[in-house]
């Protein structure tokens, strides 16, 4: 008896050729995160195995991201369309240098946080699934960076959002629920706008695949294109905590455990910035051109208000939250420039920002452990108590402000050069002022926490009695992993050549996505 399945005419919709196993690298970061999260939920009672498995899975994700970056370096963008359906019918995953670099930086940050978390995640938080949620969050973040489909991007945003809700309330203190409500409400609002923009875009073009959209969205009527581009910009700007939709970030990021703060500060806002760059550069370049003054104004305001907010804060984590916002301004400045230097600089800046701000939160966490408070005014005197920590912290102060030779300097250089070449003097001034203000805000934190002998107002030369020494586990996991991440930042800052090449490629493929489109449609165009 002939099977009815054999009589179906499948070829026109299906990919016929074999997919080499090496191409799977574009889905490994996401697939490993999902497998790992599922496995860790099943092992919920086994604390020892949780840590080991989480570290193994995140390390495997880092390795596959490194391989992905190397592949993209050698052969250009890499794509895979799920389920053997031909794009644009199947869901594509596609990585160009932008996505691969973001994904690598995010997974490196997550790996450090896995080790750091052992100094503070208690067994109750273990039971409620800290590590599975961390893996799901990483899966959502990597999925957002690697997907080649705008609706799929929304799905990964949701994965990321749901797991971040879980992480932010883990511990269940009152202030956490307060932060979670603000965080959740604003993010849901942004997601709704994102979904509306997707619906309009689908209605206008009939496709959701980035590569397919790139060739079809050019023909849209200008009014419709401007509407969709503005909606996307609003949604992603809100997600990225750009001015004027930035208030939710410092109101919520200081409430959970420091590992969670570090993950959020490092990873989440960059996803919004990445999505804005991807959609406005590849899909709606003409929409970006029309919105350029708006993006530039948003970037300028964000760049200045971020560090100014940080200057006014007495809560250390809220202050760092404002520094995160300042960095988002620099990313939007790159998007406003929209040139090779602008986009390349933004990509490099995001890589720096993911690593440096994670490290900044982690170092602040060590300070909090020693002083038992988040209030900068009570922290003084840590320099005497823990000199290595103060060195780590001052390196981060310089790195986040973008002073040479640290990592933050190079993307700022690219962005400023791009601004000068484009004649965008306001943005150049904004970028430089941002660096200066960030330096002031960050070194103010350093001076108050480390240099001042005791709490604010104390006149005596006596050491601060509220400080306690770190325990052995805290030294090993918390301080140790922070030092490793800072060392990585210093090394990358001293040897930035490959990062320059990579960000050059990223900018090139964003401005002219031909290679990206060819990679996605390789099967369709195959003779």
């Amino acid at each position: 008896m002939a099977s009815p399945y054999e009589s179906l005419d499948l070829p026109p919709a299906m990919i016929e050729s074999a997919t080499p196993a090496a191409d799977w690298v574009v889905v490994w970061p996401v697939a490993l995160a999902l497998v790992g999260a599922g496995l860790l939920v099943m092992l919920r009672g086994r604390r020892d195995m949780q840590v080991a498995f989480a570290a193994a899975f995140v390390a495997a994700i880092v390795v596959s991201n490194i391989y992905l970056v190397m592949r993209v370096f050698e052969a250009g963008p890499l794509a895979m369309t799920m389920g053997r359906w031909l794009p644009p019918f199947g869901i594509s995953f596609a990585a160009d240098m932008t996505g691969a670099l973001f994904s690598l930086a995010a997974s490196v940050s997550a790996l450090v946080v896995v080790f750091y978390a052992q100094s503070e995640i208690d067994s109750r938080e273990h039971r409620f699934g800290f590590y599975p949620l961390l893996l799901l969050l990483l899966g959502g973040v990597c999925g957002s960076f690697l997907t080649g489909d705008v609706f799929n991007l929304y799905v990964w945003f949701e994965v990321m959002l749901i797991s971040s809700f879980g992480l932010i309330v883990l511990g269940g203190r009152k202030v956490q629920l307060d932060g979670a409500v603000k965080y959740g409400f604003l993010n849901f609002l942004a997601t709704s706008f994102f979904l509306m923009a997707i619906a309009y875009l689908y209605g206008l073009t009939g496709t959701l695949n980035f590569a397919d959209l790139a060739s079809k969205a050019d023909d849209l009527p200008l009014g419709a294109m401007l509407t969709v581009a503005a909606l996307f910009l609003f949604a992603f700007g809100m997600k990225a905590a750009a001015f004027p939709a930035n208030a939710w970030l410092p109101a919520s990021y200081h409430t959970p455990a420091i590992s969670v703060s570090a993950l959020f500060g490092g990873l989440l806002t960059k996803v919004g910035a990445y999505a804005a760059i991807r959609v406005l550069m590849v899909v709606l370049p003409e929409g970006r051109l029309m919105l350029e003054p708006v993006i530039a104004a948003v970037a300028l305001a964000t760049m200045l208000l971020g560090p100014l907010g940080a200057l006014a804060q007495t809560n250390i984590r809220r202050a760092i939250g404002f520094l995160v916002i300042g960095g988002i301004g620099a990313l939007f400045a790159g998007l406003a420039l929209g040139t090779q230097h602008g986009i390349g600089g933004a990509v490099l800046y995001a890589t720096h920002s993911i690593l440096t701000l994670t490290a900044f939160y982690l170092a602040a966490g060590v300070v909090e452990k020693m002083s038992g408070t988040q209030d900068i005014r009570l922290m003084g005197g840590i320099y005497a108590a823990n000199a290595p920590l103060s060195i780590v912290f001052v390196v981060l102060v310089f790195a986040v402000a973008g002073l040479p030779p640290f990592l933050g300097f190079w993307p700022k250089l690219l962005l400023v050069e791009g601004g000068v070449r484009a004649g965008q003097w306001f943005l150049v001034a904004g970028l430089l002022l941002n660096s200066l203000l960030t330096l002031m805000a960050a070194s103010r934190i350093w001076a108050h926490v480390f240099w001042r002998n005791g709490p604010e107002g104390e006149r005596s030369e006596q050491p601060n009695t509220m400080l306690r020494a770190l325990t052995g586990a805290e030294k090993r996991y918390a301080l140790g992993s922070t030092v490793v991440l800072v060392a990585l930042i210093v090394v990358l800052g001293l040897f930035p050549n490959w990062l320059f090449t990579a960000s050059g490629m990223a900018g090139f493929d964003m401005l002219d996505p031909t290679r990206y489109i060819d990679a996605v449609f390789a099967e369709v165009n195959r003779p």
């Binding site: 074999a18 080499p20 697939a31 497998v35 599922g38 939920v41 099943m42 369309t81 799920m82 995953f93």
Partner: protein, 140 residues
């Protein structure tokens, strides 16, 4: 909801709903049904049983914590997606194994494993929520 009538029929209803949920799950690929609605029906069955006989009784009957079932679902669904790795096809490609058993054609496939994973996720997650809401005292 503590009437004798309800407590008497609830185990029967719950059992019926669980069997029906598996039926809905298995007919899913080409007909209305599938892992998601099957999982919802199954979780509703557990919830009915919980309302009638108490949350502790449901937890005892389930043996494993429902969230573990959800984790298992994510795990096997992703593994089903990884299977095509061995036949040089992209992630999530459906692989079919069709054979005849006593004149009946039986189609086993990775989409079926994926759907069973979805079923487990939905039953696990919804049952966790339902049992937590039905629970009066603090109990984790």
């Amino acid at each position: 909801m503590n009437t004798v009538i309800f407590r008497t029929v609830a185990p029967g209803i719950a059992a019926l709903m669980l069997v029906f949920s598996i039926f809905v799950l298995l007919r899913g690929h080409n007909e209305p049904g599938g892992g998601f609605i099957g999982g919802l029906i199954g979780a509703s069955g557990l919830a009915v049983y919980g309302i009638a006989c108490g949350v502790a009784e449901v937890r005892r009957a389930m043996v494993i914590h429902p969230i573990v079932l959800a984790g298992f679902g994510v795990f096997i669904a992703t593994l089903a997606g990884l299977m095509p790795l061995f036949v040089d096809a992209p992630f999530l490609t459906g692989l079919w194994w069709i054979f005849e058993l006593e004149g009946q054609e039986i189609a086993l496939s990775t989409p079926l494993i994926f759907d069973i994973g979805v079923y487990a996720v939905v039953v696990g997650a919804v049952a966790t929520i339902a049992l937590t809401l039905e629970n009066d005292e603090e109990h984790y």
